[in-house]
């Protein structure tokens, strides 16, 4: 997932706290996109300041901040456009206390250009020749943003809420490509419930299906007293795997009858 420039706000499925602002729209069909935090007209600064996000421009001025389930959104009312940042690009977020209170964000893999007229500082490790070409895009190592705290408000609570909202939403959006062991063993099931492995019938990961827990297995349905129907899905090479013999009709359903 990459950062995208948006020209209108998405609709959100629900709000964590009541928000009295006509800019925030709730739609019944806003598919599972809960809004965890919202704040209008927040000053956002970027480091380095001259950085420009491809297709969007410089991060300068005030933005409405939306921490939604799907992405972090900065929306500018003046320019009527915004940035939608998926959480997998937010490597780190933190509460900054000096020089001012704010929410610090570190983003990666953002297509950036540095404004041709300015050289940020002499310590930049990129070759100066590349920076002078405004059209040149290269994924930078780091883009940092700071959402400044509200003045005259309960600053700490607001920043804490923003920090928590970001933490929660980041946890809701784990990377899919990572094969986090133990988390996605069910995805590779292909609908087939493994009752035992080749070598260990009673080893770790083994589970019996009984009348007591059959409800937990969504790919198995009990029909009447003497039939269990298992949903078999095709494996990648088109075969039904080990249940080939048991399939009786064109539907990919294996039926088992209790033996008398």
């Amino acid at each position: 997932m990459t950062i995208t420039v948006i020209n209108s706000l998405p609709s959100f499925s629900s709000l964590r706290t009541p928000i009295d602002d006509e800019n925030v729209r709730i739609a019944q069909d806003g598919e599972n996109n809960e809004l965890y935090y919202y704040s209008a007209r927040r000053k956002v600064t970027a480091r380095p300041e001259a950085i420009s996000i491809s297709g969007f421009g410089q991060v300068l001025g005030e933005y409405d901040v939306y921490v939604s389930q799907k992405s972090l959104i900065f929306y500018s009312r003046e320019q009527d456009k915004g940035l939608s940042v998926p959480y997998n690009l937010i490597t780190v977020h933190a509460i900054q206390r000096t020089p001012s209170v704010g929410l610090y964000l570190q983003l990666e893999r953002i297509p950036l250009t540095i404004a041709a007229a300015e050289h940020v500082n002499d310590d930049t490790n990129n070759a100066d020749e590349e920076e002078e070409d405004e059209n040149e895009e290269e994924p930078h190592d780091l883009l940092e943003l700071v959402i400044e705290a509200l003045e005259g408000y309960d600053t700490d609570t607001d920043i804490d809420q923003l920090f928590s909202a970001l933490s929660d939403c980041s946890a809701l959006n784990p990377d899919e490509s990572d094969s986090e062991y133990g988390d996605d063993s069910d995805e590779d099931d292909g609908g087939v419930r493994v009752l035992s492995s080749r070598n260990e019938i009673y080893g770790d990961g083994h589970e019996w299906i009984t009348a007591d827990n059959v409800d937990q297995f969504t790919d198995i349905a009990v029909e009447g007293e003497d039939r269990i129907v298992v949903n078999v899905q095709e494996t990648e090479n088109g075969s039904n795997g080990r249940f080939d013999d048991a399939v009786e009709d064109d539907e990919q359903v294996a039926k088992y009858r209790r033996l008398e």
Binding site: R47, Q96, Q106, S167, G182, S197
Partner: protein, 100 residues
């Protein structure tokens, strides 16, 4: 879930998290979740000159997918126990996958 449980036993210990973008952050482990997202308190960045960005920050949330290494104090880890547990976990994962 082995390492999730393992990290929970290290809460309040000082660790150094090395990120895939080469930044290293030292701090006290305050929380971890099943995706190994990490929250650290009282952080300091190891190469502050190269990374002045986080010098004014006290607490961070680090996304689990950007972590390359977590450096732990040797004294708090029973490496033999951890190796045994990892081996068992790996074997049971392989068995689950092999049964298909």
């Amino acid at each position: 879930m082995l390492f999730f449980s393992f990290y929970k036993t290290l809460i309040d210990e000082e660790v150094i998290v090395e990120l895939k973008n080469d930044m290293s952050i030292r701090g006290t482990l305050k929380s971890v979740d099943q995706f190994l997202n990490i929250k650290l308190d009282d952080i300091s960045v190891l190469d502050e000159i190269k990374y002045p960005h986080l010098s004014s920050v006290k607490n961070v949330f680090i996304r689990g997918s950007v972590v390359r290494y977590v450096h732990l104090p040797a004294a708090v880890v029973d490496t033999t126990l951890l190796e045994d547990a990892s081996r068992k976990e790996a074997a049971s994962q392989a068995a689950k996958a092999g049964g298909r």
